[in-house]
Symmetry: C2
Subunit: 340 residues, 2 copies
DNA sequence: TTGTAGGCGTTATCAG
DNA sequence: CTGATAACGCCTACAA
């Protein structure tokens, strides 16, 4: 029972040739209905299942895609992957997932492994530390679609799927201004990642448009952890002109900020407003729920998958698509003065 | 540049045969250092990379494992997968992920696809709706290791990795008793899943051991959503003898319960204690943090991977391993009277 | 409509 | 130590 039956086994049992079996199973036009039925029946009887590996080797298409992310258990990434899987599974693709742990070396190695495994495409979010682009180039050199989502690297030949970071950051800042905030701080991330730069620019533009002068003391760069949010608030509250709002590039920073604000007995949102980024599940469960930006991760995954498929079709065209999805600001208590 | 170089290309360039190239690249003993160096150098020069697909077809080992879960973006599952990936990647395995959406048909189809793709093993958490076991049997029939984690089905030949649901449920209930709770309710899930039954039994045993008689009015079966927690509390508070604590099989239920309790102006934990299950990230971020049980998902993933590897080695032995990891109760505010 | 033969890229076996 | 050959399972010209 542990033996796998091949088309040869079926052929032998039916006294025909493997080629005929193959044709019958693939609904090839050049086959008589009689033998087709016969073969199909026998195949079922013998529990035949096509060996995708052999097919892959023969056809040059593995029907696998590689998905590379920093950490798979980050809510944002796992949701993107969910979208990718749901879009690609019905078409017969399998999704191979790999983690870089935000490590460039690992990313390079991973991509090489994926290429060796003959994936039909690579969908990824680049690691924070990544500087080189040779590994991306090696994907392109093999004419394999490369799609970046969220964390992108600008390169010729690769498609990208992002959110409109600039616009939504503008929108968030505008929202804070509308709440009556005058001294709006911004906690940003590592500018090596374009997303953080875009968010900063949207923030700054909104200030300008509303006649609020940009104060560089109000810009803090930090990692994305709770402690960083606490530290940032501590720092901001030592300034001569203490801010009255903060737009954070991460929900964890926003959470840390809120914790520290509570410690300082600052009333949120009356005296201070907070907006986060990512719409992590916890933001809505808090007593003092956190306004945040939904990055539509599932849609991003589905879109990335679709872009991959498009690239696959236009193998000659080498199309390079840049999609920016509309992210949405979820207004919650931490920044809703009027609702109080 | 889009051409992939094979060992034949190298052989041709060096005027030797492909077999020799293969040997050189695989550090076969029967090869002279001179030619080996020559080949290795040339291979690097020509950007040679081994085609895993061809190797897989030849060897019968794809170096891929399939991981099947209901939804990949559930924190618990994505963390398990993280553990699996981290354990298996260094050994050259790739992880293929598939979602069942809690649908038996999809689960059956998925496993069939995975088998066709010649995965070397299947690691999975069964869908809530699954009744049949034929698809699991078909994995075993091909002598491919099958490892269940968390949500298992008892079958000969499969290994399982779970947490000690019974013990930790006992521990949680005991903890509530120690807080002085006398009328402890339990919100359970669908008993088609063994985990829920085990948790109930642990809960019941603890009551018995402490001389508290079990009251069937205090047992509520529910799904795992916030609304279910709210409804449960509503129901419990209509009883003649209103409970003073609840042990929930899910953190979302615990959250819903707390929301409703607040609505009813019940003081937690002074007048009512709550314990959840899963240690979802949000439980610790809440103002009124929720006591919960950590299912050590990362460790579960790593363990499942190790068990898979063991099964692989003992291909003859057909060992069947049942591992129960020690889960830990994280005591937080929702049930900590003494700390208040 | 069906059979024959070759090849996808590797490795293993058997000679030499 | 190296070369030739076959085989993994499948598909697809080409020939019959």
């Amino acid at each position: 029972m542990s033996e796998k039956t091949t088309i040869y086994d079926i052929a032998k049992a039916l006294n025909i040739t493997a080629a005929t079996v193959s044709r019958a199973l693939n609904n090839n036009s050049r086959i008589s209905k009689a033998t087709r039925d016969l073969v199909v029946k026998k195949a079922a009887e013998m529990n035949y299942e096509q060996n995708r590996l052999a097919l892959a080797l023969k056809s040059g298409k593995s029907k696998n895609v590689g998905v590379v992310v920093p950490y798979i258990d980050r809510n944002f990434f796992s949701t993107v992957i969910r979208g990718i899987e749901e879009e690609l599974y019905p078409l017969g693709y399998h999704v191979i997932i790999c983690q870089t742990h935000e490590n460039e070396e690992k990313e390079i190695e991973t991509i090489s492994n994926l290429l060796n495994a003959q994936v039909d495409g690579v969908l990824m979010s680049v690691s924070k530390t990544t500087q080189k682009t040779v590994h991306f180039q090696s994907v392109l050199n093999k004419d394999i679609p490369l799609v970046f989502f969220d964390r992108v690297k600008e390169m010729k030949g690769v498609s990208t799927v992002t959110i409109d970071d600039y616009e939504v950051a503008y929108e968030a800042t505008e929202h804070l201004i509308e709440q009556g905030c005058k001294r709006i701080a911004h906690i940003s991330g590592d500018w090596k990642l374009a997303i953080y730069k875009h968010r900063f620019k949207g923030y700054k533009k909104a200030l300008e448009d509303y006649g609020i002068s940009y104060n560089s003391d109000y810009l803090i760069k930090a990692k994305s952890e709770i402690g960083d949010g606490q530290n940032a608030i501590e720092k901001l509250f030592k300034l001569k002109e203490i801010p009255d709002a903060v737009f954070c590039s991460s929900d964890y920073i926003a959470l840390g900020a809120l914790q520290k604000l509570k410690e300082l007995n600052v009333d949120v949102p009356s005296d201070f407003c907070v907006v986060g980024f990512s719409n992590e599940p916890f933001t809505q469960f808090l007593e003092l729920s956190i306004s945040s930006i939904d990055q539509v991760p599932r849609q991003m995954g589905k879109t990335a998958a679709k872009v991959f498929l498009e690239q696959l079709e236009n193998e000659q065209g080498k199309i390079e698509k840049k999609v920016a999805l509309k992210a949405t600001l979820e207004k919650r208590k931490s920044s809703s003065r009027k609702l109080q």
